[in-house]
């Protein structure tokens, strides 16, 4: 995400070093300092960049669980509270100001098989500017990629409420029976037509698989039969929002209700700042097929009680309960000492869905205290070290093998089926190999059953080196079961026994094996399981 100088000014910071330091302290990553112009030059060449803005931009990476920092509004708000330039706002769900009925979304039972959950809310009297509008769209996209897991878990639809009229119906229908004009298209399509239309759409094609093979597709209508959206693919064109939109109806459909609630809370807490009554959100009712009625957004505040001692002991500091409460308040967790001993009441706002345990609160206290202000101390834990027997033996063998003139190779544990089967004159079924289901290339089809292919490939890649080449490797192989050996030249090989137990083979490799690894010189190998020696 990009932050500009104006926003830095609002956090009372101007120097790059100071901002870099703040990011580090807060757990953000300041990736680079650039400008719109520089970005265009890099991505599209100098010509396109002409006339572009050269206002300094700061590219920032946000931790994956902090959805409240995904847009500029949230990030700047978070940093302002951290720097104690702003008090964390209180987000409030309100009834319609005109005293009328709340907007209502009715879920029918057909949705159960494809996408059973939905939540909704209304942002009233919002004022967009170009920047705010873009940020609003961008946040939805980021949430889609992040918590919504590429729209599989949750899909967000935002609509100009003044173009539609409730109550709204969330149902599911066969694709042939769905027909509407989708966003940015000039005519109506059936759902089936849309699916083939979007096959070539660089953005939307990634979401088609979510419903493609379902008999029923999710669809939301208004009371006049106008299509709001066909989640999780596309919204209708009719209700699309613009810079002039004043009232927004937001719906989130989902396969995971918890994530839908969090997603809705994020969108409304971030953007209610631009409503005439900042930080208020108008409620909407959702009626389930069984008649249950829920009111959204939840915007739930939860209170946890913990002691100053707990924080001090876990972090390794010695602060008063009051000062810990102050640290937490800087992290948007409004806290106060409750009066009973050193107990602290911590209020977790709806923006901090990542706080699910006291340990999350403890971390925030440590961040506000400053990780690098904590005194580093050595734990007194007394233990005696032990080596893993197989590694201890391996270390000893490696030393002696190199002393005997062998050089250590380090080859991959993953390889192709051909490496461990055909090339070693074996049938893949008799290798008892473990197979990988999603290899990107043939090099990762199986886990190796033998170290030999890796060593032979190493020799093949080093044919220019002076002979003789003497290599060894001691490492793990993966076998579903024990195997027999046909890799050696008949009459020129032997099985190795130790204390009456077979532990491996040695011999001259079969000429077929040598030529299949693109080698020309005779090659002998020894292959021993060292585990019996532990």
């Amino acid at each position: 995400m990009y932050l500009n100088n104006k926003m830095l000014f609002s956090i009372h910071i101007l120097a790059d070093e100071e901002f870099d330091e703040l990011c580090f302290e807060f757990g953000l990553e300041l990736d680079e300092i650039t400008s719109e112009k520089e970005i265009l030059i890099r991505e599209q060449g100098g010509e396109k960049a002409e006339g572009a803005s050269d206002v300094v931009l700061y590219k920032i990476d946000v931790p994956a669980n902090r959805y409240d920092l995904l847009c500029l509004e949230g990030l700047v708000r978070g940093l302002q509270v951290f720097k104690e330039k702003l008090e964390a706002p209180r987000y409030k769900r309100v009834s319609p100001a005109d005293g009328g009925e709340p907007q209502r979304l009715v879920i029918t039972e057909e949705t159960a098989s494809v996408r059973p959950h939905a939540v909704a809310a209304v942002l009233r009297n919002i004022t967009f500017t170009q920047e705010r509008y873009e940020s609003f769209i961008e946040l939805q996209e980021k949430l889609h990629q992040n918590i919504c897991r590429k729209r599989t878990l949750v899909a967000i639809g935002t609509h100009d409420l003044d173009t539609i009229s409730g109550p709204f119906t969330y149902t599911a229908k066969p694709p042939g029976e769905i027909r509407f004009k989708p966003l940015s298209q000039s005519r109506e399509y059936t759902a089936a037509e849309l699916m083939s239309l979007y096959k070539t759409d660089s953005h939307l094609r990634h979401y088609l698989h979510i419903i493609e093979n379902e008999p029923l597709y999710p669809i939301i209508y208004d009371s006049n039969g106008i299509v709001l959206s066909m989640p999780p693919i596309i919204n209708g064109d009719h209700s699309k929002i613009s810079l002039n939109t004043k009232n927004i109806f937001i719906e989130c459909t989902a396969t995971d209700l918890t994530k839908a609630k969090i997603t809705l809370d994020m969108v409304v807490t971030m953007f209610s700042v631009y409503c005439d009554e900042p930080f208020t959100v108008e409620e909407a009712e959702v009626v389930y097929p069984d008649g249950r009625l829920s009111v959204y957004p939840e915007l739930a505040y939860r209170t946890e009680t913990l002691s100053g001692d707990f924080i001090n002991k876990r972090v390794g500091i010695n602060e008063s309960a009051e000062s810990i409460a102050q640290l937490l308040t800087r992290m948007c967790l409004r806290s106060e000492v409750s009066g009973e001993g050193d107990l602290i009441q911590v209020e977790i706002p709806p923006t901090r869905a990542d706080v699910i345990h006291a340990c999350d609160i403890m971390e925030d206290a440590a961040i506000a205290y400053g990780f690098n202000n904590i005194v580093r101390s050595t734990p007194r834990t007394y233990t005696v070290a032990n080596q893993l027997p197989v590694n201890k033996l391996t270390e000893l063998l490696r030393q002696d093998l190199t002393a005997a003139g062998f050089t250590e190779a380090l080859t991959f544990a993953l390889c192709s089926e051909e490496d461990i089967a055909d090339k070693l004159r074996k049938n893949i079924t008799e290798t008892r190999a473990v197979h990988i289901s999603n290899p990107k290339t043939a090099d990762f089809q199986v886990a190796r059953t033998s170290l030999l292919p890796g060593l032979l490939k190493t020799i093949a890649a080093n044919r220019k080196m002076p002979l003789p080449l003497k290599l060894f490797e001691i490492s793990d192989v993966v076998l579903k079961d024990e195997t027999k050996d046909s890799t050696f030249f008949p009459g020129r090989c032997a099985e190795i026994f130790s204390c009456g137990k077979s532990i491996g083979h040695l011999g001259v490799l079969h000429p077929d094996v040598i030529s299949r690894f693109e080698l020309t010189m005779p090659c002998s190998a020894i292959d021993i399981d060292i585990e019996p020696f532990l």
Binding site: T258, M362, I374, T383, A403, G405
Partner: protein
């Protein structure tokens, strides 16, 4: 080596002349081929400062085979002239002579002879002058005597054109007396032998000086792989710090131990096909500690142990999926579970260094498999300050003393910290590892006591190795395509210096 007789003959010749002599002259004087003298010069050089020889090259003119014949028997035209009696010779008879054809036309153009075509009995050749001067022969004889300098370039080139002369380059030596010149040969010894020591003969011997310019002979030996040398050092550090090695000899793991037991939700992106190698055969794991599995399911789907949980529908099918472990923390989870099953908790310090697998896009710093270094400490009352303290000790042993910590996110640790060290070369802070305190939602379902904290950290083995050995592309360090010369040449590994 040339025999001593020849060498001493050469030395006697050198003794006679002041200011040195050319090896070609030596060859002429001794009546041997020049190449034999060149060999003798090299043998003498090897004896030390007996002579000094400076190589030089000279171009000179030499007779060709035909040129030598002419120097001996006269030019073709002279031979033709001499063969004609005063009364003339029939042309057809003249043409039968070996030099006839060439000699006739040359003698004609020299106007030494004339042809009477109308002569009775066929064309007949007559002399036109009394006597001739055979200048071609004279010139060639001059060259033969080594006096080619007396000829003009134009003359030499003309003879070259007639293929009677050729120009050759001769490499020869200018030989002068050396600082320890002598006309007798004393053989220099190359090695001090037991016999010399026993007899005392070493006192009289001359020893050949070493040639320090030579490449030397590489000893015939084996070499350890640099990544494994660094692994040995890291193992050593952990052992010095009292850490016990964990059993990481299982590349295949179930999703349960790799993710679920670590409180990593089932929808987490890391569990995607794009990041993790899943196993098709055997696809599923079936053996789990059942009561523990139930507690894991509960903490994910409903919470508990003071946690809200993730509140989603946890599925056993997802947990059963076998995969190639994506981190060795899967083994740490198994070890901590095992620890929790002890009757009485005892503090532990564990470590491992082993392979992990990621289904990532490969580039200069990413392979599908790499080695993870991991350290874990479990005890009552461990603090974040303790984690920083132990990291400080660990990195000090690596020669890194300037550390700072950045808040980070990791699903199974809270707090989570990225470890940065100040890089003196780059003049900036660089990330060197990750660390954190394991979440209670991971530890308490295992059955560990409430007051026990577990601190842990991890880093890759490849990155510090690449920095240590100055390797920029990971593919030049790991895998069958590496150049074995790199393995042969890699020096010993001392992490703290």
């Amino acid at each position: 080596m040339a025999d001593n007789g020849l060498l001493e003959s050469v030395l006697r010749l050198v003794e006679k002349v002041d200011g040195g002599t050319d090896s070609q002259d030596v060859a002429a004087d001794l009546g041997v081929d020049h190449q034999v003298i060149v060999g003798a010069v090299k043998s003498l050089q090897a004896l030390g400062e007996v002579i000094s020889a400076e190589q030089k090259s000279s171009r000179h003119w030499e007779l060709t085979g035909e040129g030598r014949e002419i120097a001996e028997q006269g030019s073709h035209e002279a031979r033709v002239f001499n063969a004609i009696p005063d009364e003339g010779l029939p042309q057809n008879q003249l043409m039968k002579m070996p030099s006839g054809k060439v000699g006739f036309s040359k003698a004609m153009s020299n106007k030494w002879i004339r042809l009477d075509k109308a002569h009775e009995g066929g064309p007949r050749v007559f002399k036109t002058v009394e006597a001739i001067e055979d200048t071609v022969r004279d010139k060639l004889q001059l060259v033969q005597k080594g006096q080619s300098a007396k000829l003009e370039d134009k003359e030499k080139n003309e003879l070259k054109k007639r293929k009677l002369l050729s120009e050759v380059t001769v490499k020869s030596y200018w030989i002068t007396k050396g600082s320890s010149f002598s006309t007798t040969i004393t053989k220099q010894e190359t090695e001090l032998t037991p016999e010399m020591i026993a007899s005392g003969s070493w006192k009289e011997k001359k020893f050949k000086p070493y040639n320090f310019e030579a490449m030397g002979v590489a000893p015939d030996c084996g070499h350890l792989h640099p990544l494994m040398k660094v692994r040995t050092q890291f193992r050593q550090i952990f052992l010095e710090m009292g850490f016990t090695e964990m059993p990481t000899n299982n590349f295949i793991e179930s999703s349960f131990w790799n993710f679920d037991s670590l409180f990593q939700p089932q929808q987490h992106p890391a569990r995607d096909q794009h990041d993790t190698f899943f196993i098709s055969d055997p696809a599923l794991a079936h053996e789990f500690p059942q009561d523990y599995l139930e507690r894991v399911k509960k903490v994910h789907s409903e919470g508990g142990y003071g946690s809200q949980g993730y509140k989603y529908d946890w599925k056993i099918e997802e947990a059963q999926k076998n995969l190639l472990r994506t981190h060795t923390t899967a083994v740490s989870a198994r070890m901590l579970y095992k620890l929790a099953q002890q009757e009485k908790f005892t503090p532990v310090k564990y470590f491992s260094i082993d392979r992990v697998f990621r289904n990532e896009t490969l580039d200069a710093t990413h392979l599908a498999e790499f080695h993870q270094i991991e350290g874990v400490v479990a005890d009552y009352g461990l603090t974040l300050g303790n984690l920083m303290g132990i990291l400080h000790q660990f990195f000090t042993k690596l020669g890194i003393t300037k550390l700072r910590f950045k808040p980070a996110y990791n699903p199974y640790t809270e707090p989570s910290m990225e470890v940065f060290s100040y890089h003196e070369g780059l003049k900036k802070w660089v990330e060197v590892g990750n660390s954190g305190v394991f979440r209670p939602e991971m530890l308490l379902p295992m059955g560990l006591p409430e007051g026990v904290s577990v601190i842990a950290w991890g880093l890759s083995l490849e990155r510090p190795t690449m920095i240590k050995y100055g390797i920029n592309n990971i593919r030049e360090l790991v895998g069958h395509k590496v150049n074995l010369q790199m393995v042969y040449d890699s020096p010993i590994c001392r992490l703290d210096s």
